[in-house]
Chain length 483, copies 2
Amino acid sequence: MTTADNPNLFGVILAGGSGTRFWPLSRSQYPKQVLRLLGSESLLQATIARLLPRIPLSRLAVVSNTAQADVIHMDLYHQGWEDIQLWLEPRGRNTAAAVGLAAMLMGAEAEAQIMAVFPADHFIRDQASLLRALDQGAEMAQKGYLVTFGITPTRPDTGYGYIKAGKPLDGAGFGLHAEKFLEKPELARAKAFIQEGGYYWNSGIFMFRRDVFLSALARYLPELFSGLAKLGQGNPAVSLEEVYQEIPSISIDYGVMEKAANVAVLPVDMGWSDVGTWGALYELFPKDDHGNVVLGQKSLDLHSRNSLIFSQNRLVATIGLEDTIVVDTPDASLVCHRERVQEVKDLVEELTRQSMVESVQHPTVERPWGRYTVMDAGPGYQVKQIVVDPGKRLSYQWHHHRAEHWVVVQGTALVTIGTETREVATNESVFVPMKSPHRLENPGTDPVRIIEVQTGSYLGEDDIVRLDDDFWRLSETNITSHN
Amino acid sequence: MTTADNPNLFGVILAGGSGTRFWPLSRSQYPKQVLRLLGSESLLQATIARLLPRIPLSRLAVVSNTAQADVIHMDLYHQGWEDIQLWLEPRGRNTAAAVGLAAMLMGAEAEAQIMAVFPADHFIRDQASLLRALDQGAEMAQKGYLVTFGITPTRPDTGYGYIKAGKPLDGAGFGLHAEKFLEKPELARAKAFIQEGGYYWNSGIFMFRRDVFLSALARYLPELFSGLAKLGQGNPAVSLEEVYQEIPSISIDYGVMEKAANVAVLPVDMGWSDVGTWGALYELFPKDDHGNVVLGQKSLDLHSRNSLIFSQNRLVATIGLEDTIVVDTPDASLVCHRERVQEVKDLVEELTRQSMVESVQHPTVERPWGRYTVMDAGPGYQVKQIVVDPGKRLSYQWHHHRAEHWVVVQGTALVTIGTETREVATNESVFVPMKSPHRLENPGTDPVRIIEVQTGSYLGEDDIVRLDDDFWRLSETNITSHN
């Protein structure tokens, strides 16, 4: 595996998905791409890390949306990747708009002219093959092709779209003309694809020259193109919000790739999975003697087979299950037959329709300074456990509607109330009256843990006025706030 | 249904079982008999309530053991049944010892001479039939029979023992000689029993004259009899503890009923179930159109069939399950195939072997003054939500090893620290230093809710020195403490 930078490549990571199929681990405010499903890195972090040998952080952009800004920020921040561009759409408008926005914002003056577009939430086992494909794809893209990575199928999967490849491209030892894009097939048809050969899974990974892509966009999605083009003119009267109210929501596959004549497929075999469902995740893990995948610390099983059992921190006991997915989180659990994992999406739609908080966020929320966990909540009060990482501090802030009681249970905190600052040691408490500016800081080298009891008529997270902040949270979020 | 008291009857409720098959709802310190599985009453409460038309509280005794004393006390207290005798064994020694102890403690001078022995954790749908059986059983017992209730079988159940009945008793329109006690049969044998007729389920419900039972005990279990007889002699040198170290652990069925010649079976048909497993509970509930039983408030199902889904307060989502039991509690959940519910017992044994707290108690613990819930715990600290019922107060107490921070989040508490008493209103807090005597009281008419943060080197419930208590908790527990 070479580690030579390719200065002609610009990486675009599409990180705006919701990944509802991974509920209850994913929530609308904690989407699939930031889940650590396959190790200690999130899917987004792993996607970026795999590209770094060819594309450094300075030529990478992550496209997401304002609703997910905080959690994506955090995920990049945890790796020390504050330098990556984060481009936020006002709302998701599918992949054609996201890639189009990236093409506009990277600008014609960018040194790199070839866009390499990756979904943030896929898995690729074989990085060397990926890098080789990047090199080959760059060569094809340079010649003017809209290149799509076609995954050599290993089974007649009915969960993926297929690409039918045509003749080899002239003069290269790799790459084929793309003849046809095919929807997710029935099993019989998928089997026929495999038998016949020349069909590839549509990975959603693309490479093309910026100018070639924009030409295709102008031709096949003129409305989308002209909307986004207004941004490129540096016209301050046109906001992203206005543009996004007008442009159509369509995928880059339907909107561009299926229509264009200069589309090429690059067959790749790199241990790829879109990790689309709990069932797909089950497939990616080694099994025990009974075909089970057991993740997490606190579970006990008797006689189950071919099942996935995941427990975050509660005790989960299982007996005699077959082909079952059990996923347990602190506030919600899922028990699902392994052949019905696609329906998790329907379930989350129903939870959202019923406005259940379990579809929105977890009790534990990560913050750039540490994390908090909602332990208890009732009329007029809420209890949180707050952990402040060593050397970090929360913003200097006040609340309109709530008072806060803090009891330090680990470490020594530095607490400011109004203009007075003092140390508060373990087993000491302090009261923060309503409307008093205050700050909580950990000056030490070990975590500080406090129990916070909030009381008041309104306890929402949005009742916060930040007067000072060490992070990115003072100004309104916008497309360049992260730089 | 007549409601005539039968002054010759004395009710003995056997409430010493652990009911591990109902984990995670049952715990060793919250056993099956106090679960509200079938309505708003616990199984114990319902067992007593069904008998009251014939046997008033003053002629009822509950036999349990010291480990379960608190939770049984509480269960009786909640119904205002403090007058029921509570007889506590130092440890469970099976049913022969429990019934033998009851026979000794009720004494020869008791006006009632017929013991009616009921397990505390069964279900009987038809109270009128039960009362009729009590009348008939009393008549049989009076004649000197050891009477056992035989349930007319409705299916070839392999989970029950059977009794083969012989000839009718002379001169009565009901009651048969018991010919043989049979172990839980294989399915083929159970079917043969049903076809042949004259077989009954062994319910574990007995009636006999005290003197007849004691004679049988002396004859068939002489060691047990002579051990217990020492208690009857009012010898203060012999403690219950000493007696229970010696006596054998054997069931009344094996030890007495299977051996005695004067055993009679009274066939009864009263909608009885021993509610032995989650599967038995499933059978007792009406099903929806898909054969599901859904209990609790917060669950969402898509396309499951013939399953029991129980959720206490967390969100449980299920998709496409068949014949599955899902039981979710705040700290633990069980997912079990419906045909393997017997193995829950093995699971709990394993949890106990691993010393997991989830086999011992729930995060929420009922107290005579209200309840507390452990919300969070870590090294050196613990957070509880405490609810004090109107007009109630905790004991006046102090702790060797912990300090407590209290924040009132609902109502106004009356707090004593040392000798000083003051009101603490909602959104006010108070600190209880280590070793300071203190008391928490709710003088109002609505619940008081406080968040307690404990800090200290040892946070066990047994670090409590009670100086005064409104309940039964000052003296050491003993067999007459409840009177």
